[in-house]
Symmetry: C2
Subunit: 209 residues, 2 copies
């Protein structure tokens, strides 16, 4: 079996060097490059085959998220492992949504790194222990103030998210526009937001849309 052609992308040269040293004795992979920004990485990918990318999310020129998407769009066979210090749930979830095969914190052990690499190239998705902890603990915000919505309110919320006006909605449900208005106002009250725009954002954050 060929060695995994691996590149490291991080804006701290020290991290790149550290990883190179840590991984140089692994007999199943070979570090073929280290880059400190997204542009360098992309230009390398265009000229050379790469199996695995260890990617930091904070880069000087481009967000890791976008980069992730771009790489996956062009080089879908390449596996991406995120290596980051961000402990926010939403960021972790986003990287996976954008095609990453795993997420590790930078203080992960070499063992964890090894294991995740192994899983990732097998096609699985893998997180380090702490990351799983973050993912599985429900955001306090999320569960605490999730308003209890009635059936009608849910229906109307969903149509509002489709850009419908009160009149449109009223027609769909054979209601008076004034009624829809009332529901809309109750929604805004329940979510404690200022207007429909913020309402949609809040509803989205709480997975209600």
């Amino acid at each position: 079996m060929n060695k995994l052609l691996t590149v490291i992308v991080d804006d701290h040269p020290i991290v790149i060097e550290g990883l190179k040293t840590l991984l140089k004795n692994e007999d199943n992979l070979e570090i073929v490059g280290g880059f400190s920004n997204g542009a360098q990485l992309l230009s390398y990918l265009n000229r050379n085959p790469v199996d695995l990318i260890l990617l930091d999310v904070t880069l000087p020129d481009i967000g890791g998220m976008e980069l992730c998407q771009m790489i996956k769009a062009q080089f879908s066979a390449t596996t991406i492992l995120i290596l980051s210090n961000h402990t926010e749930r939403s960021i972790i979830m986003q990287t996976i949504q954008n095609g990453a095969s795993g997420y590790l914190l930078k203080n992960s052990s070499l063992d964890e790194l090894r294991q995740c690499i192994a899983e990732a190239v097998k096609g699985n998705i893998c997180y380090s222990k702490e990351v799983v902890e973050i993912i599985s603990r429900p955001t306090k915000n999320q569960l605490r103030n999730t308003p209890q919505l009635t059936r009608r309110e849910k229906q109307i919320l969903s149509l509002l998210a489709q850009g419908k006006t009160s009149q449109n909605i009223a027609q769909e449900f054979f209601l008076s526009p004034l009624t829809v208005d009332t529901h809309r106002r109750n929604l805004i009250q329940k979510f404690e937001v200022k207007n429909v725009a913020e309402l949609i954002a809040a509803a989205h954050q709480q997975q209600l849309l």
Copy 2:
């Protein structure tokens, strides 16, 4: 080591029976119950300890998503594995966001099921092969019509999602409200939506917020 106390929740009794039969020879787990709706499950959980739940997302009384959240809020030690036929990316991602430890399609092999259970109780998150495939392929929709936003537009989009009015935004950026209005209109055009509410929804779907 004690056997894993496992319950199965599915609205098709046949599936419950099938799983019971398949898993009855596993020596590390014991099926202690099978339920066909969410209410039954919750009432059982309130009286009995359960380590693992094999959960279908489509139930007659309550959505699997909500159920997942509720279980995790009350019984955080219980591991949830989703067993479903839905192949939509968004649904899969949501279950994980709601605290599930994995996702399997119902046509998964017994081996995959075994492996996922093992991973899940170890605290990892695990998907069957097909599911990983679904997750890693970028939604065509998502990449295709993601509009290219300018710096200002991004800033304004984000404030709109916070329920700010054009005047508020104008003040924050020392601009004329009319200018903000223009940007807002350009955003609505670029996203091909009808108003700000739909704009926020669209932006959210494309991970721009």
